[in-house]
Symmetry: C2
Subunit: 162 residues, 2 copies
């Protein structure tokens, strides 16, 4: 019996089935390569490394979150950016509730192995406030003020963290 | 008696006296504005917020480090980016040993107050390995490899952390 197209033999939970048509398909590194990448990490006492998401093309810094080894492994395997939520204490497939998925373009490691730079194609907005980037506040006229517009209704993103 | 030019009344330790000629002079926010910015921070249990340095113009993400309230205050006051070194447990005026100073352009806060995006003019290189960015490693042909060239002799940068 033929394998249904949406249940290919290499299907794994969290694999992005909605990668934009103009984005190259994700080719997961081999298990050995993923293991080497994981071995180069120097997680903190909680098993976490910081992960900075940057938008391909524009270079916008979108957010800072955290990954454990499992999140890094799943990100490399699926091409869909997956973090570890410190508040919910579980894997957080970015966009799983909000729909604002991050498609992996490249993953870089820093010189001491405790931080990652994640180049992404961001669906919609990264911030739970509906702004493109979480880094949208700064001093203007002596006050801390939002500097970027709200592009998506936060209520429609299911309110936070997604 | 006249104030010597290098000891102006507003001189503070760490004030950058070598801001590039083509860069606008730094105008520190008022004490009240700085206090409002500090009040918007949500430091972790160690009193720290993550700080991502991004190069003006190119958008390169250069490094991830940490700031405590004193480092944020000094950065805003002087226009010279100052971190808190977790290993040395003291303020770290970026470039104080290496000469690779970061001149502040803008400082942004994220939606939950525990991370900063620091737009900088980077003198030379940010990484102690002599590479422009600390995020210079990634998977190629199944191995973790440096992806960026060494632009400055690490021995000449006084070996690390500066």
């Amino acid at each position: 019996m033929a394998t249904p197209p949406n249940h290919a033999p290499d299907h794994v939970p969290g694999r992005s089935t909605d990668r934009p048509a103009d984005l190259a398909p994700w080719h997961a590194p081999t298990p050995e390569a993923r293991a080497r990448f994981l071995a180069a990490l120097r997680p903190d006492a909680n098993g976490l490394v910081a992960a900075i998401a940057q938008a391909e093309g524009t270079g916008e810094v979108l957010m800072l979150a955290w990954m454990n080894a499992e999140a890094v492994e799943e990100t490399l395997l699926t091409g869909r950016v997956t973090y570890y939520s410190r508040s919910r204490r579980k894997l957080w497939r970015k966009g799983e509730t909000s729909g604002q998925v991050q498609h992996l373009i490249d993953l870089r490691l820093d010189c001491d192995g405790d931080a990652l730079l994640v180049t992404v194609r961001q669906d919609g907005v990264a911030c739970h406030t509906g702004r493109r980037s979480c880094f949208s506040w700064g001093l203007r006229d002596g006050e801390v003020a939002p500097l970027e517009p709200v592009l998506a209704d936060p209520a429609g993103l299911y309110g936070g963290g997604g």
